[in-house]
């Protein structure tokens, strides 16, 4: 059976450190990185929500969702974007002509325009590393060990097992894009 790669990002373990962003910039020599960390429900990073002292602060790293039905692919007039058999959505930088149609089409704001090279770029799940049997660099460098990478088609993989937990969510599920990036929400606060 073919592979179906993706992430489960554990918000309980994400400490908002940005190591994923830094790792991505290094791996892809990208100026900003294709994975970015936000503080949920807050415009300012690392600012808690709620009334003092009953506060909460939850981080959410966002990246290309490697959708099963990727709007970017349908939007690209030159067929530069492809979904590989293993689920990874990639932009072929040789074909991309920089029209930015995909950037408008992506509901997740996950595609960046590289001003220098004049093309669209985004997370490719480190396909080059996966092809060598390595995990994506952001997952490897995650300080909180919050990014679980694996094959959803392998029932023995950690991600497949975690997928059975019923509290996982995906971004903008109502759009029907069917992302391969899942989130596991933080644990509820417990009485002492």
């Amino acid at each position: 059976m073919s592979k179906r790669y993706g992430f489960i990002i554990d918000q309980e373990r994400c400490i908002g450190c940005n190591a994923c962003t830094v790792a991505c910039r290094i791996e892809h020599e990208s100026p900003e990185g294709f994975i970015k960390v936000f503080t949920q429900n807050s415009e300012i990073k690392d600012a808690p929500t709620g009334g003092f002292p009953d506060l909460s602060m939850v981080w959410i790293p966002k990246l290309c969702n490697h959708c099963e039905f990727p709007p970017c692919i349908y939007s690209c007039p030159v067929d530069a974007i492809d979904k590989r058999a293993d689920g990874i959505v990639i932009i072929d930088e040789q074909i991309c002509d920089g029209c930015k149609a995909c950037i408008s089409a992506c509901p997740y704001n996950a595609i960046a325009f590289n001003e220098e090279s004049g093309i669209a770029q985004k997370c490719n799940l480190c396909a080059h590393r996966i092809d060598q049997g390595l995990e994506p660099f952001c997952a490897l460098c995650c300080e909180g060990q919050a990014i679980y990478f694996g094959d959803f088609n392998d029932p023995t993989s950690k991600v497949s097992k975690l997928l059975k937990e019923n509290n996982l969510f995906r971004l903008k599920e109502d759009l029907g894009t069917n992302p391969l990036i899942y989130y596991s929400p933080p644990m509820k606060k417990r009485e002492l």
Binding site: A19, V22, A47, L55, C141, E143
Partner: protein, 754 residues
């Protein structure tokens, strides 16, 4: 794939002065050029890690602003005007100045100001060795803000650091029922070595409480967050004890067995009743009240079980009480309502926490240096350690310990065993030594791995009164830091990727920091730099072989026999032998050999018990203060103190300093996020952006430490802090800088106005 074949993989380790997390790093190298850094393997797979700073180290290594050659100052001190000179010329100038000063004032007028070495050993050892040989002055690094912890720990546990006793089995991944993170934010300052374990523990059922004036990253992961007013920690500790005692949740057996709680204290002079007072032949022994015999007896192993812990006793006309009774009486003064008022924590939260501490099977109290950076921070440490002690939550076995370092310092401290070693000054004592000649005059300083004026209290005083008194200043540096601008000679130093060192970290591993590439430009490692100086001063024989020989010297120690350089090249090795003869406390090295919940040595100072004393400056009742806000400094994930503060890849994420202010305080001052504001007190005005957020409690403002002075529009963090010495800390060990005990006011800034 020829290109691939030419790439060498070298395992090294990051010695940065963070947690100390000490990540293993795998470097991809081609032709003396490092292409990439990634996390290296550890024997325990889950320990493989790297942080965002470690990842960014190539930006430090290849930073265009690196100092490339030795430099000689040509402008005024502080102007930053320098000219290139050769190493030979630099050494000649240093030797000439050192000799002149030594002739006039003696060698001890020359001081070595070393920053925190992180996990590094030889770079520290090299300086210690030359300081020892020349009998010059070593300036201790603890007082930079870390001395409060050893001051407190030495008093109650007799150990330099309290970790082994407080963290206990936590390091062996045996999770407690309750984890209390008190005034510490490992989520940013020790994410890998500590925070990962906290998250593992939490998932396994450990309940997590965070006590902090800030709603930190760690607090965001807590089951309960308790927002404390800075500097009131010992009041909270006493409030918790009050409730624990009231409900009889303390561990009487533990108190009798392991603490000096049963020892009788004479009420007239607050000193312990001794053998001589009760006619015992052991004149200096301690005494307790034997409940069976109804008389005071010398403390013996056999009679502690019969010791009275409460009440008062008349011993030959001398009024006495057990130390534990005195502690209980002190705690009685802190009922929940009063504790709540002082600490700012709700009464019912204090009640719940006390009950949980008293009833949980195992509690771990987690703290680093933040809690001890107030004027009485040493007592705060004793306070939380006393709560741990009266509830039996102290671990005393090595196997459950934390090993800060397996260090073989002796060859460095006493380079020549026949002659005395160096003189030692605490960092705040150095201020007085330079400015007032007290206890003796210091005329020259050598700064290594420290951005002194940036990171030390009362920067303006350093600039106006301290530097001008010095005849000669040397700095080894990577960059033209604020402190380097005041040096007469700057020497270009390597990053950790350009030299080798032995790292006895992180627990439970030892690692080799392996040189990955040859030093860039004309830079040298600190050991090589000091070696060159030693040769010119006639001590070359003690530095033969440089850092490589020093690593061997450290590894020569019997406790390190099982490790070899060769094996360490391939990876970290487990630390699994008790190092004999090293300064590691297997017993409580207190005067009594017990946990000292009552410290007789501080009776004359009125601090025998862990009492609550108000902060010296931080306002606890704001309305009466000219400067009504408490100013604290959290530690940022983007820097290790001031290191990495100039790295573009990190500045891109967080480009400039800001002061965090609570919406309640901001509203009163009509401040909104991104406004430029003045943070000020009598010492200085610091101008920067505001971030309005509930991340700090009302009445407290925070600026993350480590921003460089030139990154502020005006002033800086330490322009606002003070250098007041706590004489009790000076007596116990050395005085700390009280950076979290500072009062300020904040107002909106408009251009041209102050």
């Amino acid at each position: 794939m020829n290109e691939q074949e030419n790439i060498k993989l070298i395992r090294t380790a990051c010695p940065a002065h963070c947690g100390i997390d000490c990540c293993g790093i795998l470097a991809h190298v081609k032709d003396n050029k490092i292409l990439k850094l990634e996390p290296a393997e550890f024997p325990f797979k889950k320990d493989k890690r790297i942080c965002l700073r470690g990842l960014s180290t190539l930006d430090l290594l290849y930073h265009p602003d690196r100092i490339k050659t030795p430099l000689k100052r040509v402008g005024e001190r502080g102007d930053g005007k320098f000219e290139k000179i050769s190493w030979e010329e630099a050494y000649n100038i240093i030797v000439r100045n050192f000799r002149e000063i030594a002739e006039k004032y003696g060698w001890k007028a020359i001081g070595w100001v070393l920053g925190g070495p992180g996990a590094g050993t030889t770079k520290f050892g090299g300086y210690l060795r030359l300081a020892s040989l020349t009998q010059s002055t070593r300036v201790s690094a603890w007082g930079y803000g870390d001395a409060g912890l050893p001051c407190g720990s030495r008093v109650i546990f007799g150990s330099h650091l309290p970790y082994i006793y407080l963290f206990g089995e936590f390091w062996q991944r045996e999770w407690p029922d309750l984890l209390i993170v008190w005034g510490s934010n490992p989520g940013e300052s020790a994410p890998l070595q500590t925070m990962r374990k906290i998250l593992d523990a939490k998932r396994s059922g450990t309940k997590v409480v965070v006590i902090d004036p800030r709603f930190t990253v760690t607090a965001a992961k807590a089951d309960e967050y308790l927002p404390i007013i800075p500097g009131t920690d010992s009041a909270l500790a006493l409030g918790l004890m009050n409730l624990i005692f009231e409900r009889n949740l303390h561990d009487m057996e533990f108190i009798r067995e392991y603490t000096n709680g049963p020892y009788l204290v004479k009420l007239d002079n607050r000193m312990f009743l001794r053998g001589k007072d009760i006619g015992d032949r052991k004149a200096n022994s301690y005494a307790l009240w034997d409940k069976d015999k109804q008389e005071a007896k010398r403390v013996r192993r056999s009679n502690t079980k019969r010791a009275g812990l409460s009440g008062s006793y008349n011993v030959n006309g001398v009024h006495c009480k057990p130390a534990f009774q005195l502690l209980k009486e002190l705690a009685e003064e802190y009922p929940p309502s009063k504790t709540a008022k002082i600490t700012g924590i709700k009464e019912e939260k204090i009640r719940i926490l006390a009950e949980k501490i008293g009833t949980a099977k195992k509690v771990v109290f987690f703290t680093y240096m933040g809690v001890s950076r107030t004027y009485h921070g040493d007592i705060s440490v004793r306070g939380l350690a006393t709560v741990a002690s009266i509830t039996g939550n102290v671990s005393t076995s090595f196997s459950s310990g934390y090993l800060p370092a397996v260090l073989n310092w002796d060859p460095f401290l006493n380079a020549d065993p026949e002659t005395p070693s160096y003189h030692r000054l605490g960092i705040l004592n150095l201020y007085n030594a330079v400015i007032k000649g007290n206890p003796y005059q210091i005329k020259a300083l050598w700064f290594a791995f420290v951005n002194f004026v940036n990171q030390c209290a009362n920067s303006e005083k350093i600039i106006d009164e301290f530097f001008p008194k010095l005849d000669f200043i040397v700095q080894t540096e990577l960059f033209m830091t604020e402190n380097a601008k005041y040096a007469d000679i700057i020497l270009p130093v390597c990053t950790f990727l350009e030299f080798s060192d032995f790292l006895p970290q992180p627990y439970p591993y030892v690692q080799l920091q392996q040189k990955v590439i040859e030093p860039l430009y004309e830079s040298k490692s600190d050991v090589d730099i000091v070696k060159g100086l030693a040769e010119r001063l006639g001590y070359g024989e003690y530095f033969e072989g440089g850092e490589e020989a020093f690593i061997d010297l450290i590894m020569d120690h019997p406790s390190l026999k099982q490790y070899s350089r060769e094996k360490l090249k391939d990876g970290a090795m487990y630390l699994n032998e008790i190092p004999e003869g090293t300064d590691f406390p297997l017993n409580f090295r207190t005067p009594s050999g017990k946990i000292e919940i009552y410290a007789e040595q501080l009776a004359e100072d009125g601090q025998a018990l862990p009492l609550y004393l108000e902060p010296i400056e931080s306002p606890v009742s704001p309305r009466e203060h000219k400067y009504p806000l408490s100013f604290i400094q959290g530690h940022s994930r983007f820097r290790t103190h001031s290191c990495y503060g100039n790295v573009d890849s990190l500045l891109q994420i967080e480009p400039e300093p800001y002061v965090e202010i609570n919406p309640i305080d901001a509203q009163k001052r009509e401040i909104t996020t991104n406004d430029m504001v003045s943070v000020y007190n009598d010492r200085a005005i610091t101008i920067l952006k505001a971030k309005v957020s509930n991340v700090v409690r009302p009445g407290t403002v925070n600026i993350m430490e480590g921003w460089w002075i030139d990154q502020f529009k005006e002033g800086s963090i330490n322009h606002l802090t003070h250098d007041i010495i706590n004489p009790v800390q000076d007596k116990i060990y050395e005085p700390n800088m009280h950076m979290n005990d500072v009062a300020v006011e904040v107002k909106k800034y408009s251009e041209g106005e102050k």
